[in-house]
Symmetry: C2
Subunit: 214 residues, 2 copies
């Protein structure tokens, strides 16, 4: 959740916000550029008063007299409010030595990046670096709820594809894969493959070149 | 050490081999292409019989009648025998979680690469994955003796430069640096800098692009 204080927001408003998004995206597709709260209310079977109150919670954009709200800005504001644009938080699956090392690595914060939670099939410790380690059965729900879109895979290669599938089903859109296996994912998912062996092999080859020169 | 059985080789022969190398490289620089064992003996103040016996241990190249040995081949054979061309073995300094994970990583062997030994300022376990963990005071000697030219740095960034200097002094020629700090090394040393935070930041940016497109 972004900027505004969410504690005082009613659950019903929160639950309606994704519906606004869906509705506004349909409007956008139909070429509608501006929309009034009355029109939204009509389209969504709500009272204009409810719409005004709901939007006041999530939206920074102000409506223009006679024109109403800019649809694109509404979508942007609500997505931001719901954390749908979250590109900084990540979760990690597989808290073995490598996962542990990544969770404890402090350099990520230089970029505002944050591994929020670790998941493991076999939780042996409840925390690493003040971050929770949770069992896999909490994964999908929590990742969805927190709108986390970056997943890091540090499980053995036998389990990596299964975890990737789970991540995609939970809304993860970018995967940092440390398992030495090529993942099969839908086209709209970004994958960064880490290949430790290839990295060391590159260095070994540079060493060979260096030695040949002498 | 390479191919041939070294157990039956006399220590004096082993100790002389680097001297042959030095002498043969001088000859090569002077433009000498072929050399006889008699010439080597003269140049190095040894008897031809000793030279023949020594070379028989380390050298595969055969001398040509009247011409003698090809100098370049002699150098190549002796270097190979002494392991001076070793581009596959590595040592790691810093056996924390990351170092531990790298030592336990099995993918390296696909490329014939091998992290032979781990070193740590504070040894808490004697072995990882069947590989020894040793204190730092054994570092220089052992790395020199085993002709290891690849060093992996997984110490905190405060100590990384000091370890790099130590590695260079021990004959390491290629460094895989996981500490988030730019190392100062001589020109003839290869460095591969691993930057975890930048890697994750790249993925985060790709995610941003993906989301913008939608």
């Amino acid at each position: 959740m972004d900027s505004k204080n969410t504690e005082s927001i009613s659950l019903t408003t929160l639950q309606r916000l994704p519906n606004y998004l869906r509705y506004l995206k349909t409007c956008e597709q139909q070429g509608i550029v501006y929309i009034s709260s009355v029109m939204i209310a009509k389209g969504m079977d709500l009272t204009p008063m409810v719409v005004k109150k709901d939007l006041a919670v999530a939206v920074i954009t102000e409506g223009k007299p006679k024109l109403g709200y800019c649809v694109e800005s509404l979508i942007y504001d609500i997505e931001k409010f719901l954390g749908y644009d979250n590109t900084k938080d990540a979760v990690i699956v597989g808290v073995g030595k490598l996962g542990h090392a990544l969770m404890a690595y402090e350099g990520f914060s230089n970029y505002g990046l944050n591994i929020m939670i670790g998941f493991d099939a076999n939780v042996t410790t409840s925390e690493v670096n003040g971050k929770k380690i949770l069992p896999m059965n909490k994964f999908v729900d929590l990742v969805k709820r927190l709108n986390i879109h970056i997943g890091i895979i540090t499980v053995p290669k036998e389990n990596a594809q299964e975890i990737a599938d789970l991540m995609v089903s939970a809304g993860v859109r970018a995967i940092w894969n440390w398992a030495p296996i090529k993942l099969e994912v839908p086209n709209n998912i970004a994958v960064k493959q880490e290949d430790l062996a290839a990295s060391l092999a590159v260095l070994s080859n540079r060493l060979k070149e260096l030695m040949k020169k002498e």
